[in-house]
Symmetry: C2
């Protein structure tokens, strides 16, 4: 929620810091999605899986999580080239009960394994009331919220979490042992739009640091620490061996609670599924090798579906959700604020805007997409004016 309506959430490109001037080029959302499908198909993905994976990246771009959209496409291709990602996974349920399953993702795209796992969770919830699927042997799964929102159309609450490359330190530590480990929760309403949480368990996403770097600004205290674990306002601290701080920041501001949440996501996603946890989580970036002596398989996700009418009438629940949402939206704004937001509001509003006006891409992202066209013998129209 509360996505920034700017380039600020992207962390792409990783090697472009210090450049304060760059061009943003606007693309039609559908055009980018179609192109993404073609790239995934060229990688060998079955068409249906390519469509789901492309939709997940596209939703990230529409919702303003630019770091998890088409800007990541090259990253997936590079991992595939290194055989760290399998374009034709044979996903397999390793173990199950009426309300649970463990899915082996066969090193597939998380953009494919997580929706598949969510579908299993939804089917289980139809019968058992709830469904919970832990995924091992997977890869980066895009935005957490995409998978959680899949439950909505079934009048279910969706839950989604994943572990990720270690960049975050536990409270009182300077070791990078946790990822930004996001949690997403999607809850349906009746006439109101759904309530959708999609949040990293850190104070901020990495991309915000990169925005500050480009602007030559310092970071607020509580975002990161230096390599010795001292508080810092250096926006480059992460690149100098420092680490990100869990939600809350330091101990005095409740950072130990963010550590708890990030740890919980790691355990649910990986210890419950048999994936790699903590410092052993393989990095998304292709230029870093996975840690040696793996303790599990790939990275892990945890997906859940809760059927509303397994508790009470879905109609009654959704009426109460309407009341909840209207009540909170009408809360009195603080001095200087215009309005109070409901989780999911900013992303939904940005989606409408970007569906109409297009998705702005960093010029380096555009160059990379063009390289992919050359690599795979595809057409990529760099002149997006024709496409809007």
């Amino acid at each position: 929620m509360f996505a920034d309506r700017t380039f600020s959430r992207t962390n792409y490109p990783a090697d472009n810091h210090g450049h304060k001037d760059f061009k943003m080029i606007i693309f039609n959302s559908e055009y980018l999605k179609e192109y993404t499908i073609q790239v995934f198909v060229k990688m060998g993905c079955p068409l249906e899986q390519a469509k789901i994976a492309a939709d997940c990246l596209n939703q990230a771009d529409l919702r303003g999580v630019d770091s998890h959209g088409v800007a990541r496409l090259c990253g997936y291709v590079r991992l595939w080239e290194l055989k760290r990602l399998n374009a034709t996974p044979e996903m397999k349920i390793m173990h199950e009960t009426p309300s649970t399953a463990v899915l082996d993702g066969d090193l597939g795209l998380g953009l494919v394994t997580a929706p598949h796992a969510m579908q299993i969770a939804v089917e289980k919830a139809k019968i058992a009331g709830t469904g919970w699927v832990a995924v091992q042997n997977s890869n980066h799964y895009g935005i957490a919220g995409y998978h959680a929102m899949m439950a909505l159309e079934n009048d279910m609450i969706g839950i989604s979490m994943t572990n990720a490359s270690p960049l975050v330190s536990p409270t009182f530590s300077k070791s990078r042992f946790l990822g930004t480990n996001p949690i997403a929760v999607a809850i349906p309403a009746l006439t109101q739009p759904p309530f959708v949480i999609d949040m990293a368990t850190t104070t901020v996403a990495n991309g915000k640091l990169e925005v500050l770097q480009r602007k030559g600004l310092d970071a607020p205290l509580g975002w990161t620490q230096d390599k010795d674990g001292n508080p810092t306002t250096d926006a480059y601290s992460l690149k100098k061996g420092g680490s990100m701080l869990p939600l809350g920041g330091d101990r005095e501001h409740g950072g130990h609670k963010g550590y708890c949440l990030g740890a919980m996501v790691d355990i649910f996603s990986a210890v419950l599924s048999g994936a790699n946890y903590g410092p052993w989580v393989p990095p998304f970036v292709s230029f870093l090798d996975p840690p040696k002596n793996q303790v599990g398989k790939g990275i892990g996700h945890f997906l859940g579906a809760i059927r509303i009418d397994a508790f009470r009438s879905a109609e009654d629940f959704k009426k109460d959700m309407d009341n909840w949402i209207e009540t909170f939206r009408n809360a009195e704004p603080s001095a200087g604020q215009e309005r109070v937001l409901i989780p999911g509001d900013p992303e939904r509003e940005l989606t409408i805007e970007r569906q109409k006006n297009g998705i702005p891409l960093h010029e380096q992202v555009v160059a990379d997409l063009k390289d992919l066209a050359t690599r795979f013998g595809l057409n990529f129209n760099e002149n997006p004016e024709n496409k809007n």
Copy 2:
């Protein structure tokens, strides 16, 4: 986790601010528990329920959450006197599926309804893999962690959350619409002690403000805001119409994520169960009337049990948890820190210490416990030296 090893987490007594000197009196833990059982029995609670309720308060005292221990006993009695709490509830399952249930707590003690709900969740998990019970028509349930930890002995993960009296504002708002809405998660290990999260979804608990008041100190920014929603360091801001801030504090430091978490707890606990949510949650304190035009019944909880071997061998999981715990405990401490903690470490260590050396009670708590003895014709030994 990370409970303070001092009086700092108590928020008792509410009317004692500005007094910087007070006496702490040490009591034997078992003696306090036995006395608590007697009081609950005098209220009319069945003995078995009185024992569970007393154990929950006692565990709070042992674990250092002094605000939720025997110091709250008078509060429960006062609510019972006002007929806002039923000592002999006829709890009833309103609706269920293989993995879910809604329990009507019949306005009973949350200290009784929540353990009952957790037991139902555990039984469902034995068959369906997981069990999830939403509770309506309940009261304050003590420490969240107590109920979550009930799952551990069954080789299950326990989850517990509750909504609470509104003292917290959504991001960008000055309305008090959420409680401190805690989340607890208990996860078993093999040779290591269990991993136990028990955290409010606010930056700090109210009791920490009261400690600062007694010391005449300011609060850090990010703990509360004033009545207009401005940042403040006034430790008395809450008493002047201000509100507590969600975990993270302001928007820049991720406070919107704490708002998301508190909102999620409210919806799971109350909208899913049919209890009161948001600003309609009835206050725990007897001197405040419940809001008019209730939208549900009582306050709500949400309890969950996840059977480990519904995912993978419990033995394998617990071995990996041992490795997880040992790895994180051996993370490199930051400059100036001695060690890295695992969620649950401080409370467990304090429990051992207090079982041996006793529980320190504020003199006003002791006076109130003595009043209860007079009220109910019980003996309360104010000379605890005899009891240790």
